[in-house]
Symmetry: C2
Amino acid sequence: MTKKKQLRRICVDMDEVMADTLAEFLRRYNETFDDAVTPEDLVGKGLWEVAPFDRQQQLRAFLDAEDFFEDLDVMADAQPVLKALSQRFDLYIATQAMIVPNSLGPKYRWLQRHFPFIPPTNYVFCGDKRILRADYLIDDLPSNLACFEGTGLLYSAPHNMTVTGYMRVSNWQEVAAYFEQVKI
Amino acid sequence: MTKKKQLRRICVDMDEVMADTLAEFLRRYNETFDDAVTPEDLVGKGLWEVAPFDRQQQLRAFLDAEDFFEDLDVMADAQPVLKALSQRFDLYIATQAMIVPNSLGPKYRWLQRHFPFIPPTNYVFCGDKRILRADYLIDDLPSNLACFEGTGLLYSAPHNMTVTGYMRVSNWQEVAAYFEQVKI
């Protein structure tokens, strides 16, 4: 407890930061509709803005599927960088799981499987991220960073590439470099 | 968003605060072991301290059962008092669900069923409650209040009756009375 209190606290978002959610979303979309949308087609926008009206309902159904969040790929370098950060910082995972309740179990198991060095006591499944008391938040959603009271780091994703006004990190090596210069 | 920022924030624990978890725990225990332990037998201690050694494993199994958290009784007056508080405060539910992962789905459904006026975006399923950024936390566990940085209110439960050093509320009417005198 004393050790934790002294360390600075980082919250890390899951989807499109730790997990390649977009890849799975596009895989199911392209497979279902025999389409070929790529991440490059989604610069500055979400799949919701690109998909025709009659496919909108299915987009939500992809996310609601019980297995959607079960086997997402891990973002490159997320594991070693987070493992190193967990030695120097008080590390929490904070994900907006409440908007897709079927994701609760899969997200829990995914974290245990791929990030066993982060204890479940440090998982936060939430909705509104203004509830987080931390020094840093790494997130791909500007709306989450906007309501966070600490220092926000915008993790690059196609949808946020046109957003300005936030410190940006493009990959996990850049996250590592950023926290290298943070005094603990 | 502006409205939320202006309101003071209250986090409310679920088990033994909103939900009568102990009643269900004792019901399963007494039924399984043909025993007659009552809440009065547990003043100042947990069932873990009272149960013989050879029943300890089963205690954990009760909590891990997929249906344990599904149908807990709602604490008297919790609904009207929380509904009234939700008009004057920024209300969040914060529960240590991560220690019993099977509780994630049941807790979500229970909140939706009994407290439909609280949006899922305001549910926080966590472990360590030091992560909460709020003005108040109502909780039956002194260890949760100890690491919380705002004002803690200890909700009376048999196990915490010998604890001192916290502002105590014995029921939901006392919670209502406490927040009546808080300026918003």
